[in-house]
Amino acid sequence: MIIEQVQVISNQQIADATYEMVLKAEMATKMKPGQFVNLKVEGFLLRRPISICQYDQFNHTFTIIYKVVGDGTQKLTTLKVGDFLDCMGPLGSHFPIEAQTTALLVGGGVGVPPLYETAKQLLAVGTQVQVVLGFADAQAAFYIDEFEQLGATVYVATDNGTLGTHGRVTNVIAEQQLTAEYVYACGPEAMLRVLETRFEKGYLSFEARMACGIGACMACVCKDREDTDLYYRICKEGPVFPVGKVGF
């Protein structure tokens, strides 16, 4: 974990209330897919946790995709090229990248970003990658082309049916009878719950309100599935956990 003043290379809207920001950062060399950074936004006390969407270890850059949901993310949109941002990272556990025969990547809304680097690296080690992306509507959708250009097969679901399947990502999986050796997923807890009933192997990325992001405050704790005395910090042992590990 490093604290670094990272510099904005670009910051542009890519979908409804959704922005992509590219940052220049030494810490890009330490990143792994599925990890997150914790950003200090001027005017706010607590840092904002945002997933790493992709990184470039040679050029020392990384990309985040954020949705404007409150004042902090709103403020992020005002950053201009050349501005600096106080960034803590990389944080948390990551999606393990091992050659598998098949992997199904499932992302809902702002759960989509961490799957992009994951897809890239899985494809690089020869895994066959299918991706299911869920959005509220067509206007909120992003990165569909980007996933396809990587060489993944992409399915889309929207809540109101304006793009792809009408419904949830889990509807797509049922409808298309998608299967895979491993699932890699990030999104709302309800989605993760359903996936756990369908897949025995794989990794799920969780979310929680955080204060420290480094395991010190106990704000983000979840229980072990079996051992009720055992708990995990989503910011430290997580956000990525193997399927079946976390108790809901």
């Binding site: 604290i3 607590l46 010190a216 704000a219 704790v221 009720t228």
Partner: protein, 303 residues
């Protein structure tokens, strides 16, 4: 400049330490800097048995502050004795053990047990936690109960006892005097102010526990006021806390009457804050014409 200061049970290299509950048992921070640099460490509250704490969400942001309702999550005093304290013994730093519970017996049990640990050189009696149903804050809002608890813990503790005061009271001086009379060796103040935030979409409190403790820069003026009020009425030393984020804040707490300070919330924003404040303190003292820590302590009462 010599930053060392001696307080009951505490031989501090400097007056800066992390506040309880904002630093775990130091493991995460030990990856960032040498814990031996710190004046002391106030470890996370210990209860007789393990507690998972409150349901999530446990934190919420507020203007220049935060609310927390962690609910004293901790592995229990025995596990802390068995694993955390021996690990901390690898560092040259005094440990202040934060003692909590639901009943007087809980406090007595934890205090008796944990004060035996070789590196625990003082206890901090947490009679002011707003986030547990029984005990906690109730003990801290009534002078008589606070005194009773202090006395009981003093009897079993083999190290000096600091009592952590709640700011959620009408008369902080009365409580301070009561616990001093009951044998407290020092005071730590302040714990969090009781607060709440509502979610505009659901209408419900943002925190699962409904209310939470307000900490961070927002509460600093209340902390300074309370320390300033209590200082002239007690002879025991005060460790100050509440919103410290800069070396100038440290000075303000010393002026108000604190002999040392603890940093809570700001560890979450800048995990290097404690060593940074230690490094900056000498220059800050000098900037305001002070040649020693002692000159700063209680200065607002002399000038």
């Amino acid at each position: 400049m010599d930053l060392a200061i001696k307080l009951p049970g505490l031989d501090l290299k400097n007056p800066i330490m992390p506040a309880s509950g904002c630093y775990g048992f130091g493991r995460e921070f030990s990856e960032l800097y040498d814990l031996s640099e710190l004046g002391a460490i106030m470890i996370k509250a210990a209860t007789p048995t393990a507690r998972f704490g409150n349901p999530l969400p446990r934190v919420a942001e507020t203007p220049n502050g935060m609310l927390n309702a962690i609910g004293l999550q901790n592995p229990g005093v025995d596990k802390i004795m068995a694993t955390e304290l021996p690990w901390l013994a690898g560092y040259d730093v005094p440990i202040i053990a934060n003692v909590a519970g639901s009943t007087l017996e809980d406090y007595v049990h934890v205090a008796k047990t944990i004060s035996q640990a070789p590196n625990v050189t003082a206890l901090e009696l947490n009679i002011s936690c707003p986030n547990v149903k029984e005990g906690g804050i109730a003990f801290g809002t009534c002078p008589e109960t606070a005194a009773l608890l202090t006395k009981a813990v003093k009897e079993v503790s083999s190290v000096p006892v600091y009592v952590k005061l709640s700011p959620n009271v009408t008369d902080i001086v009365a409580i301070a005097k009561a616990v001093e009379a009951a044998g407290a060796d020092g005071l730590t103040m302040i714990n969090t102010l009781l607060g709440m935030r509502l979610d505009l979409k659901t209408g419900k409190p943002v925190l699962a526990n409904q209310t939470g403790g307000l900490s961070g820069p927002a509460i600093k003026p209340v902390a300074i006021r309370m320390i300033h009020q209590v200082y002239p009425h007690v002879k025991i030393p005060i460790i100050g806390m509440g919103g410290i984020s800069t070396a100038e804040d440290v000075l303000e707490f010393l002026y108000a009457g604190a002999s040392a300070v603890a940093v809570g919330t700001m560890n979450f924003v800048d995990p290097y804050i404690c060593p940074n404040l230690i490094a900056e303190l000498p220059a800050t003292l000098k900037k305001y014409g002070l040649t020693s820590l002692e000159e700063a302590i209680g200065r607002s009462h002399r000038s």
